[in-house]
Every structure is written in C-alpha cells, then in structure tokens.
C-alpha cells in the first residue's frame, strides 16, 4: 500500500498517515490481521521522526483500527467495532464538503455517485 505524504499540506503528517491507513483498511488494501511496519522502520522509510509514527499508531489503536503488542508489533484489527454512527467531527467535515460542492455547482447526483464509488 502506497502512502502519499505532502509536506506542504495543512494536515499534520501523523494525521495524513492515519487517514491513509484508515482508507487502506476500508478499501481492503490492508486486510484484517495484516502486519504493519514497525514504528522505527516506517519512520526511516518516510524519513520522519519516530515520534510522529508512534503518534499515528497510538491514534489508530485508540480508534480501534489496529492493535499493538510488544511481541508482534502493530496489526490491523480483524474485527473493527462498528458503531453505525458518523462522528460529529466527520459530520462537520461532510457538511463542509457538501457546502463547497454546492457552491461550486456540483450536483447532488454527482456527489451521491462519488459516495457510491468511495463507499
């Protein structure tokens, strides 16, 4: 799985990595039980501080997407807890995207098609 880091983005690097790992799990690129690189090797590969990767893994663990232990390192969770609700944060983000799309003249149908494509 390829991770794209944009050093000029407003989104912090740890969040960029987190978002792409979540997208990878959702799309099936990263399967349940799949081993993730160690904090050190991923930091070396990207060329960033180990603390940044550690922060990403802690966040992913907190959110229930991955599990970590000393022996096996980080792995994608086999069964990710499904609450069935969209978080307030994501709702706000979605509202912003819908608003911007409407102002740009994007039709509701196009947006729905995009959601179907990404879902």
């Amino acid at each position: 799985m390829i991770i794209r880091i944009d050093e000029y983005s407003d989104v912090p690097i740890y969040m960029q990595i987190r978002n792409q790992i979540v997208m990878g799990i959702s799309s099936g690129e990263l399967k349940g039980g799949e081993q993730l690189p160690t904090v050190r090797s991923l930091a070396l590969e990207i060329g960033i501080n180990t603390m940044t990767v550690s922060k990403t893994y802690q966040l992913l663990k907190q959110e229930g997407y991955i599990m970590t232990d000393r022996k096996n390192g980080a792995r994608v969770r086999d069964n990710i807890a499904q609450s069935g609700v969209i978080s307030e944060e994501n709702k706000t983000e979605l509202r912003r995207i819908v608003s911007e799309s409407r102002l740009s003249g994007v039709s509701k149908e196009t947006l729905k098609k995009l959601i179907d494509e990404f879902y």
């Binding site: 390829i2 944009d6 050093e7 160690t38 070396l44």
Partner: protein
C-alpha cells in the same frame, strides 16, 4: 619493472575518469530522470526555457569532456615518462584530479536549479512510501560478505604469525612486509561490510502504485550493490591470500606489482559490470515508472552533497555515480564527511610535502633493481 607502476596508475585513473564522465554527463539528457543531479521537468524541453536548458547542459558536458580528455591525455603522456619522484607525484596528483570532473557538474547543477526558479518550477513536497515493502526488501546475504573477510582475517593472522616467527617459515620478503600488506587488504575488506549493509538498508524506491513493482525494482537495485560489494570482498580476500603466498617465496617486486595490476583490473571490471547492471535495471523499470519522484533537488548541494535536516535517514542514493552517500545534516553524516575531508585534504598535503622534500626520489632510488 617501473613500467608496472605506470600500468597500475593508468588502469586506475583512465577507466575511472571515463566512467565518471559517462555517468555525470548524459548523452541524451531528455531521456533521463536526472540531469546534472536535477530532476527532469517538461518545462526544460519547451520554448525559451528549453534553449537555456540545452545551453547549460552543453556547457557542462563540454567542461566535463575537456577535463576528462586532459586527464586521459596526461595519463598517456605519463606512460612514456621515466618513473622518478616528480612523475610519481604527478601520477598521484592525477588521481586527485579526478575530482575536477565534478566541477562542471556542480556548476551545471546550480545553473539548472536557478533555471527551475526562473521557470517557476516549484517543488511539490510530495513523498510516496510503500508500507508493504518497509524493511522487507533486502538483497545482501551477510554470510557471503563475512566469508571472504573471515578468509582475509585468517590470512592476516597467518601473516602476523609468520612475521613474528611463531610459524617457522623462511620468508623471502622484508620483515613485516607480509603483515603490512595483509592488514591493508583486511582493512579495505572490513570497511566494505558496513557500507554494503548501509546500501542494503537504503530507502525503498516508490515508482509505481503496484507494491510488487516497487519491491522488485528496489530488490534489483540492492542486488547489484550487494553483488558489487561481495565480488569486491572476494577479490580483496583472494588477493591477500595470493600476496601472502607470493611474499613467503619471493621478494620480487615485479611479482607484487604484476599482482597489483591484476587486482586493479579486476576491481575496475567489477565496478564497470556493476554500473552496466544498474543502468539495465533503470532501463527495465523506466516503463513501469508512474509516480513522480520526490523533488529534493534543493537539498543536494552542487548535486553532490545531500543536506536535509528534515530527513532522519543517514544514507541515501547518490545522484552522481553509483552507490550511496550520507545525509550531511545527520549527526553521523557530519562526522563521516569531516573524516573524509580530512583524509582527502591531508593526503594531498602530505603527498605534496613528500614531493617537495624529494622523498619520492629517494623511494624510487631505493626500489631500483
């Protein structure tokens, strides 16, 4: 016998300078990912920018060609000169003159970076990392590089024991010549081990969205490096053993120098094969390249020295030539660079001092049969 010294110097200098020229100054800059250590860009090949680009590349190529030709012609002339202190110093200074080839390269690199700014080419700041391949793509099999060094160590221990008289052999060569020769070869072999490991641990290149292509590309590149270091280690160890045997039975300088000619030729052949293989790998994966490489041109001082405080890696792939270099912004990189600079500058100063005080002449007189 002194003609062998000239052959050794010729075999070391001429192929190296030609190789440096060929690697640094491409004949078809439009087809390469990197030109004079700067990433290619479509804007370099259109309109006014294209003309300026061609002028910079042509000027650098001409500069490189003049220096290369000068070194080659000088080496040919030196082949017809008698070996004395002055010509010996000239040969050694010719080795250091190899570094002059990088002058037009560095100048061209700076001019191209300025042209980028002029054409409004800004760096994207995007890096790709393939997390599937992190820390799993390696090509170096450690026993294959440890084995020749173990052999070299055995040879060195044997040499020390012979020189100390523990092993009762009548050595034909001078006292401790065997030990000194063996330790020199062992040192070269041992120094290759960490370099080979560092090269095997360089970052995996991401050229495609397909992880398999990325893994195969990185593995192929690392394999050429691993093969190069393993072949050099074996050549080094076998040469040490051969010298040990030769020096026990003979003190003939001709035999030693003939061995050095052979050793230099083998090392040169290994390097040339390595470079050709690497170029074949690049050509093979050129059509699979779909992702833009990270634009870190500004972090390459003169296209030669990598300085990036935001990059935590120590070793990166070189832009000129073959192999890797260190990130000068890394604390260990700073130490390595300072030590290298001290060794190179110190050697030049020392050799000039030797030449000025006539010590080379004395050495040549002593070694005359």
């Amino acid at each position: 016998m002194t003609w062998l010294i000239k052959v050794i110097m010729f075999v070391c200098i001429v192929p190296t300078v030609i190789l440096m020229y060929m690697l640094g100054f491409s004949r078809n800059p439009g087809r390469k990912k990197m030109i004079l250590g700067v990433r290619d860009n479509p804007k370099f090949h259109e309109g006014e920018g294209g003309k300026k680009f061609d002028a910079i590349v042509d000027s650098a190529r001409k500069g490189g060609l003049i220096i290369t030709a000068a070194v080659v012609i000088m080496s040919i002339i030196m082949m017809f000169m008698p070996v004395n202190g002055t010509t010996l110093l000239t040969w050694i200074l010719l080795v250091f003159a190899l570094f002059l080839v990088v002058v037009p390269y560095g100048k061209g690199n700076t001019e191209l970076k300025n042209l980028k700014k002029e054409l409004g080419i800004t760096k994207s700041g995007v890096t790709y990392t393939d997390i599937t391949n992190t820390n799993v793509v390696h090509a170096l099999k450690l026993p294959w590089i440890f084995l020749p060094n173990a052999l070299a160590l055995i040879g060195t221990v044997a040499a020390v024991l012979i020189d100390l008289g523990v092993i009762g052999l009548d050595v034909a060569s001078e006292k401790y010549a065997l030990t000194l020769m063996s330790i020199s070869f062992l040192f070269v072999g041992v120094i290759m081990v960490p370099i080979a490991i560092l090269m095997d641990n360089t970052r995996n290149m991401v050229i495609s969205r397909d992880s398999n292509i990325n893994a195969n590309y990185s593995r192929a590149k690392k394999k050429t490096w691993a093969d190069l270091f393993i072949a050099m280690s074996w050549a080094n160890a076998l040469c040490l053993i051969a010298y040990d045997i030769v020096l026990v039975f003979t003190s003939s300088e001709t035999a030693v120098l003939a061995g050095t000619v052979l050793y230099s030729a083998v090392i040169m052949a290994i390097v040339i094969i390595g470079v050709i293989t690497q170029q074949q790998v690049e050509r093979r994966y050129d059509r699979d390249t779909e992702l833009e490489l990270q634009d870190d041109d500004d972090n390459w001082i003169l296209g030669l020295f990598y300085y990036n405080p935001n990059d935590t890696r120590l070793n990166v792939e070189k832009r000129l030539g073959y192999g890797g270099t260190v990130n000068v912004a890394h604390p260990a990189g700073k130490v390595i660079m300072i030590i290298s600079a001290v060794i190179i500058i110190g050697s030049i100063v020392f050799l000039i001092y030797m030449g000025a005080t006539g010590q080379f002449d004395e050495s040549v007189m002593i070694n005359k049969p």
